[in-house]
Structure formats: C-alpha cells, structure tokens
C-alpha cells in the first residue's frame, strides 16, 4: 500500500492482531483479533472501548476576528459557545452543500479549535485559509502533530481519571478541559460518536503510545473501524461521504438544527434559505427491516413498489434485533407510503422509525 499514512499507534494495532485496511488515506485496523461484534459489545454493554481516530484533522483558528470568521464559515452559532464548550457544526460552500461536518472547540475569544474529517482535511484547510484572507485570523493545521483517541463506554471516566490532572466529573456533555494528560498536556472533551458516555482525547504524538498503553492496561478494549461504524450507525449519526456530502444541504440531511439562519450571514446561507423555501429534493429517514436481511449502503429503497431512493448507511443491529438503515427518499414519502428495500433483487419489507435506533447513554 503506497502513499498511505500510519498513525503513531500503527505498531500497537498490528501487535494486537489488528486487520489493517486503507481508510481515509491511513492504514487503520478494521478490527482486532476478537472481531467487531465483541468490540461493539464491550462499548455497548458496560466496558469501555479505545479508538485510534488520529486520522481526523485538527485546525486552530487564532486571532482577533476568530469569532466573526467562524460565524461566517460555519453553520452553527459560535457566539453561543462559552470557553470550554464544544459545538457540532458544518462548513458549507456557496451552493449550501457540505464541505465537511466539524466540531468547534472554544478556548477563549481569540482561540478556537476545529476537529475535521480526515478525508476532507486538505480541502477544509485550503477553504479556511482562503476565507481567512478577509479576517484578522490565522489558520494552523495541527493534524500531523496531534493524536486523537476516543474512549467510549460506561467505564470511560473511571479508566481515564488516573491519567489526567483534572477532575473529569467537572466536564459536562460537549464540554472540554485542558491540562495534564500522562506525561504531557492535552485536551479532553466529553464527546464521541457512539451514543455512550465517553471522551475524546487530544494529545501530542510523543505520548500516543504511553497513553494508549495505560488505557489498554486498565482494561480499555481496542475498537476497529467496523465496530466504530456499527456504533455510529445505531445512533443515526451522519457520516461525511454517506449521509452528507457536497451533493446535499442541511435541509436534506436533517441538519437544520446546526444551521442557524438567524445568526447573520454565513457561507451557504442564501442557498440553504432558497432550498428551504423551494423544498428539499430528498429527505433522510430512518428505517428498520421487518423482513430478514441486512440493509447496506446504496441498496435501492422503494415506496409503493417504485424506486424512490437509496440507503446511505445500514447494518445488522444486535441490540435492535435486525436490519436498520438511514436512507434518502423523496420528501413526500418521509412519512407516507409502503416501504421496501431491494436486497439481491427481492423486495424486503421495512418500516419507518426514529433515531437513535437503540438507546443513547450519553450523559446530558
């Protein structure tokens, strides 16, 4: 595999029997030796899983105009953030479609931190740098120096507490703290992508192996990409390249809750307003198979016997006890019409449902 990057934890993944696959330009473990289902179960049923998500990018936005800049380039209302708070948001282009979905961390009025998708990193950074020309801000791409771990599951806090120099109990949902982590410093936020309580841990690459070892020794179960995607899909969380892309706006993707049309101008606002007025071309729905089978990405979705849309993410959910999926259908069929999914030429009965597909245990 040429041209693929390795995270500082690559050798650890191999030692643990990780099955390495190319993902977003990196060589990452799709699963470890006990398999994806056991990993999934560890996170859902009372343990804690540790995920190497170093492939994700980190961008610092620094300067007097940081707030004005972020109000203009992101969809959510950054003025609502207090120091130490995290916000789910998005970068749109002028057409109102997604460049990326991101999280925004507010350090202070002149310092923010963005976590972005690996596959979009260079596109995002180029976009941010170009827009930054009109503001008094500097854009620093910290991605290559930063290791990002996620620690998710009921035991996350108790496993992590001994390693950090601050009280994790003080960190609320979508809040973060900065301080001592292992032998260096970093950021810990109570955020994640699994629907379980847990943290995302930003540390310098120099202590990646040290922190990973310490958490694994305490009992954190290493989790690969397959189980990560199961946990994400069960929550109905959107993933760039699947539910969201440069082909849809927040109106289609049901992400108007992070798109604040009343906050002043931002890139894509006019296009989103227009799309909202004229109506979405398709809408994201959640479905559960009534018949047997596993709904998977790109499988056709039919309404009343006619092709209507397709699945964007799907899986066999052990906890929901069957096939669950997110899919785009025509807006008039969001709530009405007989739903089937075509699996290998057969129409399999499905019904509309709500996300999350299984109970969320995040600490709100």
């Amino acid at each position: 595999m040429t041209g693929l990057l390795k995270t500082p934890l690559f050798d650890e993944h191999v030692k643990l029997g990780g099955k390495i696959v190319p993902f977003a330009g990196y060589e990452l473990p799709v699963q470890y030796k006990n398999g994806a289902l056991k990993e999934y179960t560890a996170v859902r049923e009372g343990e804690a899983g540790i995920f190497d998500i170093t492939h994700m990018g980190q961008v610092r936005v620094q300067g007097k105009d940081a707030l004005d800049f972020l109000q203009y380039v992101t969809t959510n209302d950054v003025s609502k953030l207090v120091d130490g708070q995290v916000q789910y948001s998005a970068l749109l282009n002028e057409q109102g479609t997604f460049i990326d979905d991101i999280t925004t961390y507010k350090m202070d009025d002149e310092n923010y931190y963005l976590c972005i998708n690996a596959a979009n990193r260079h596109k995002d950074v180029a976009h941010l740098r170009k827009e930054a020309e009109n503001f008094d801000v500097q854009i620093h791409d910290d991605s290559d120096d930063t290791t990002l771990l996620a620690l998710q599951g009921a035991k996350a806090q108790s496993l992590l507490q001994d390693l950090v120099g601050f009280d994790l109990e003080d960190i609320g949902y979508y809040k973060f703290a900065r301080g001592q982590i292992g032998s260096a410093g970093g950021i810990v936020s109570r955020t994640g992508y699994t629907g379980e309580d847990g943290f995302e841990i930003y540390i310098p690459n120099s202590i990646a192996v040290e922190v990973w070892h310490a958490l694994v020794e305490k009992g954190a179960v290493p989790i690969g990409l397959a189980a990560r995607d199961m946990l994400r899909t069960e929550m109905g969380y959107a993933l760039y390249g699947h539910e969201i892309s440069d082909g849809v706006t927040p109106v289609e993707a049901k992400l108007m809750w992070i798109t604040k049309l009343n906050k002043g101008d931002f890139i894509g606002k006019a296009a989103v307003e227009a799309r909202k007025a004229e109506g979405a071309q398709k809408k994201l729905i959640a479905l559960k198979l009534v018949g047997r089978g596993i709904p998977r990405e790109h499988y056709p979705v039919f309404v009343d016997g006619e092709l209507n849309g397709e699945i964007t993410s799907g899986m066999h959910s052990p906890l929901a006890g069957g096939g669950v999926a997110l899919a785009y259908v025509k807006p008039e069929h969001m709530t009405e019409g007989h739903l089937t999914v075509e699996i290998r030429g057969k129409q399999i009965e499905a019904e509309r449902t709500k996300t999350p597909f299984v109970r969320s245990n995040v600490r709100k």
Partner: protein
Amino acid sequence: MSVPTDLRFTKEHEWVRIEGDTATFGVTDHAQEALGDIVFVELPEVGRSVDAGEAYGVVESVKAVSDVYAPVAGEVIEVNEALEGEPDLVNSDAYGTGWIIKVKISENNDSAELMNPDEYTEFLDD
C-alpha cells in the same frame, strides 16, 4: 485449525462432504476467519437445483457480503435453519454445526474442481 480429512474443498474456500448420493456444503475455517463475524446467512429454497460453481446462498459479515458457491451440482434437500437464528455457527463450527445446505447429487455428477485435504492445505500455504 487442521483441515478435516473426510472433506473436499474448492478454491473459493467451500467444503463438501459426500456420503452416497448426498452432499453437505459449508465454508472453510479459513473462509470464516477471513470474513469475520457472520451476522446473516441467506439460504436457498429446498427443491432448488444448483449447478456446480453456482452461487446458492449468501453469507454476510459485519462489513462484507459474500456469495457461496456449490462444489457439486444437485437439488437442495435440506437447509441449516439454525443459521437463521445463529449465523455465527459458521464462525464457531465451520465444519460442523455451521454447515449450510445438503443436496441430492445430480446424476450428471457435475462438480467444481475439488481438492483433497492435503491439496487444500497446500493451496492455503501458497
């Protein structure tokens, strides 16, 4: 895991056990290992005829969908219904309770290229 001596194998990592005019099909331990956790098995209807090398069912793991191919031609006389509730039997006991279907071998005796256990072991090592 050693390869059972009473079976024959295909290059697609299926096994077949031939007893008189009946053949039992499954996937090999190597195949289940490569697929990972199996979460769904689609079985054919009893009574269906399958040609040698024809896809007769589907095995789905968490991430992948794989066809399974008939090592010999025949008519399906039994399917392993236990796999509907416990598809992971294919992982835990690939050569035993994880069998997939039984066929009555067709009179034309048509078959895919089959390997004996030694040949299959060598094939795996290549």
